[in-house]
């Protein structure tokens, strides 16, 4: 496992301590959302639509309510209608009406699995029985299942009130059209010697966290509520639940349980407001846990897409122009990540002439949720495949074309100001220099592919408190749920600043009443932004400790120095004190020390990753075996390298699943055909090789420790890298995800029968 490390003088940062929450997690003691039980608790279950698109004519739940043990039934009528406009929520925005309608359908069901009613009963089995007694009268409507269908003239309309600025006062399924331009594309294509134009398709895919959604809501007679749940964003759960139920935000406390994966899919609400609604109705605590089939039918996924790319370059490989058209499925309500897709698709490159059109399109499928670098993977699959083809036409190495056109400090980002210091080229160079890339790949039906990816990373709001205990240990309190080792990173940052052993710093993730507003664990932001708050809170604690030492030594605070874990007085020769020696004396020096800081973090440093994958294709079956895989990613600074590698490996594995097997399969009526983990096929242990990692460290100038954030970008390159590898293995360009055995087998058979290329390469 390589590492391109800058010289470092850190004591704790860059080491690999055992994570603080580890023992609880290997002994089964850690409490995830579903592990909470309280006395008198009821169990909630949801009735879901059997149709992809239908009007709800009536709902009769009298027989369900009459079943012994059933305490309440709620439907969409029990939710306030909510305002139909985007309202800010932290730095996110939500449309309370759409959010409410996704939680419980009102007049129409918009996808197979859309929640229609919810029941609370004394056992989960009775609640399930009750669902069967609810009678819903539907008027079934024709479903819209693809962006082409949705955008076609005369398409069935999902939301009669949906308008888009461009079209004016006409009902439409296109919620938004975003445009990004620079230079003059047509002029750029005239300068090109080679032009490649292709169309790509990707299916909806799910985040696939192993832990289903859960919530336990308690409502007290004084109007105060508590929700326990596994979420990436306790403050978002609080805000969204309040918005959906029309409650004051301050009446809800959210306690984040341990979380069994999220990948973006647990940044919104499904069960939380429902459990609270049922608790309000019954006066008893209500617990709800989804089944896997509910998770797949009604949460997540990320968008399927249709993307057309036209790109041209000179003989030498300099890209002169790119024109991209992309339509993303938003699912049943507006809000696909197409905006991010337009901004990420060409972000690794300096291309003078660009035109990108993106469409956010509603279809009768579940409302999409964020998924690791949302929007970027679909887009990179398209663009990075075309770049590979250009490299081939020019006869240059696919890494060299990336380096030749690569963005560096000062390159204008397509959607914003010029980049500060970034590490894209470094990731390409790291792969180029790797033993993997320099090794020979021999044997029939084998091929090697590379691809790159970009993700913005996020800043946003975080708060942190550092408490110095009397024995000289410390606790670090934050509001960022820990999905992949961020507690350890926060403790390490505090330990570094305070000169403590990392084991002596206890990291705590607390509830929404006990810490300042903290935005979601998402956007790769926790180690960056919450880490920044922890860094400052620790500095604040240190400054206070210096004051106490000055008091003890009766000197000026400026005369107190802190180095190598000890306080010194520069002017008298008092015996130096360690943090723990000073902490012991705090009761007589003014009382406890608590450092605190809040940030609305600026200075986000984007991440780039480049990936190299070797495959072997079985031409008889179309199955692709991954032989070897190496990923290089710029972390800025790796606080805990093992968990940085973990993010890189996990993201890469998800990218591989997306590339080869994962997809939402619908029948023509819009029923999801593969809502189990047997049929929604995620990578298993024997499907993957070891995933080799190269951590590149180009410090982010916007962070006191150089951190960029590492959670997302590694998912972006694998689909294109695999498509490029498959091309080198068997000579077919795959333009549709996933490259499942059936699809690849067909493509190989077609090539055999026509023996003509699929691409349209032309000389300009």
């Amino acid at each position: 496992m390589g590492s391109h490390t800058t010289e470092s003088s850190f004591r704790v940062i860059g080491t690999r301590p055992i994570r603080h929450d580890g023992v609880e997690k290997v002994t089964g003691r850690a409490k995830y959302g579903a592990d909470y039980y309280v006395a008198g608790m009821l169990h909630g279950k949801v009735l879901r639509s059997p149709h992809a698109h239908a009007r709800i004519k009536s709902i009769d739940f009298s027989r369900a309510l009459a079943l012994p043990g059933v305490k309440a039934v709620v439907t969409g009528k029990d939710l306030p209608e909510g305002e139909n406009k985007t309202v800010p929520l932290g730095e996110m925005t939500v449309n309370p009406r759409y959010l409410g309608q996704n939680i419980l359908a009102r007049d129409k069901v918009l996808y197979y699995g859309h929640a229609v009613a919810a029941v609370a009963a004394i056992s989960p089995h009775i609640a399930e029985q009750a669902l069967e007694l609810i009678e819903v009268d539907y008027e079934v409507l024709p479903p819209v299942l693809s962006v082409e269908q949705a955008m076609a003239e005369g398409a069935p309309i999902l939301h009669p009130d949906l308008r888009n600025e461009e079209l004016g006062d006409v009902p439409t399924n296109v919620a938004k059209h975003v445009v990004l331009t620079r230079g003059d594309v047509e002029a750029g294509f005239r300068e090109a010697h080679f032009i490649v134009e292709r169309e790509f398709r990707t299916s909806m895919v799910h985040q696939g966290y192993i832990e289903p959604h859960n919530a336990l809501a308690i409502y007290n007679a004084d109007g105060k509520a508590t929700i326990y749940c596994s979420t990436q964003g306790p403050f978002e759960v609080r805000g969204m639940s309040a918005a959906v139920l029309g409650l004051p935000v301050g009446s809800i406390k959210v306690v984040p349980a341990e979380i069994g994966g999220g990948f973006g899919g647990k940044t919104t609400v499904y069960l939380e407001p429902l459990a609270l609604l049922l608790a309000m109705k019954t006066g008893q605590p209500v617990k709800m846990v989804m089944t896997r089939s509910e998770v797949l039918r009604a949460t997540g996924p990320t968008s399927g897409s249709l993307i057309r790319v036209k790109m041209g370059c000179t003989k030498e490989g300099k890209i002169t122009a790119a024109k991209i058209w992309m339509a993303y499925e938003a699912g049943a309500f507006p809000g696909s990540p197409v905006g991010a897709a337009t901004m990420t698709v060409l972000a690794p490159y300096a291309i003078p002439n660009v035109q990108i059109d993106g469409y956010d399109v509603v279809v009768n499928k579940p409302k999409t949720a964020a998924y690791r670098a949302p929007g970027a993977t679909n887009a990179a699959f398209a663009a990075e495949t075309v770049i590979d083809e250009l490299a081939e036409l020019c006869g240059i190495d696919p890494l060299d074309i990336r380096i030749l056109n690569g963005a560096r400090e000062g390159t204008p980002h397509p959607a914003g100001p010029p980049y500060r210091r970034i590490g894209f080229i470094e990731t390409c160079e790291a792969i180029k220099a790797s033993e993997h890339y320099r090794s020979n790949l021999e044997g029939p039906n084998r091929g090697r592919g590379v691809a790159s990816g970009f993700w913005f990373n996020a800043g946003m709001q975080s708060a942190a408190v550092v408490n110095i205990h009397l024995d000289g240990t410390a606790s670090v309190v934050t509001g960022s749920p820990d999905i992949g080792g961020t507690r350890a990173a926060c403790a390490m940052i505090a330990a570094e600043v305070l000169g403590l052993n990392v084991e002596d710093v206890r990291p705590v993730v607390t509830d929404t009443d006990s810490i300042g507003h903290t935005d979601v664990t998402g956007g790769s932001r926790v180690t960056f932004a919450t880490g920044m708050a922890v860094f400052r809170a620790a500095e604040d604690a240190l400054a206070q400790l210096k004051e106490r030492a000055a008091k003890l030594w009766e000197c000026k605070v400026e005369e107190v120095e802190f180095r190598d874990g000890k306080f010194y007085c520069k002017t008298n020769n008092a015996t130096p004190l360690s943090v723990s020696e000073l902490a012991k004396r705090l009761p007589r020096l003014g009382g406890p020390v608590t450092g605190r800081a809040t940030v609305n973090a600026r200075g986000v440093g984007p991440s780039f990753a480049t990936c190299c994958i070797d495959v072997e294709v079985d031409p008889e079956t179309g199955r692709v075996q991954i032989l070897r895989c190496t990923v290089a990613q710029d972390a800025g600074r790796a606080i805990h390298p093992a968990y940085v590698e973990g993010q890189m490996q996990g993201g890469t594995a998800q990218g591989i699943g997306w590339a080869l097997n994962e997809e939402y399969i619908y029948d023509s009526d819009g029923h999801l055909m593969n809502s189990t983990l047997l049929d929604y096929r995620m990578p298993t242990c024997p499907d993957l090789p070891m995933i080799e990692t190269i951590i590149v460290e180009v410090p982010n100038p916007g962070h006191p420790l150089g951190v960029r954030g590492v959670g997302e970008v590694s998912i972006v390159p694998p689909p294109a890298a695999i498509a490029n590898a498959v091309y080198r293995a068997v000579g077919v360009r795959m333009t549709e995800l996933p490259m499942s055995p059936a699809r690849l087998w067909k493509a190989i058979a077609q090539k055999e029968s026509t023996r003509s290329g699929l691409g349209r390469a032309q000389h300009g």
Partner: protein, 162 residues
Amino acid sequence: MRKVAVQTTLNGEPVEFLCEPRQSLLEVLRDVLNLTGTKEGCLTGDCGACSVLFDGRVVCSCLVLGVEAQGAQIQTVEGLAHGNELSVLQRKFLEHAALQCGICTPGFLIAAKALLDHNLNPSESEVRYALAGNLCRCTGYDKIVRAVMDAAKEMREREAYG
């Protein structure tokens, strides 16, 4: 529904519980016996989060009925450590950072134990196939496989020298 009394051995201790005939072993462990270390990910036998040892064999406890535990030896994640001493596998999972969210970890520990109980010298591919019934979405399996191989190595050395 009438409940049935079931006598079983759980993590080495005799245990008696009452359960409905329709309740799975997973439900019994979690909802009746309060052993929430065994996790639910799918209820269809596809994810392995609910893995336990049943008479020494790995099973998905979501696919076993509680009443089937009558007279059996059941082992769960809660029984892996010896008092305050973690098992070698548990320690190696921590040292190798083989967990991120940790929801799959109990199941992997159980499946890995079942492998090492009868093969202390597994190849990488044997480890991968022994863990094929357990899904992890966070790690890409790399560090899990390394942790299991390293645990096997330490246990081999212990056996040889100690």
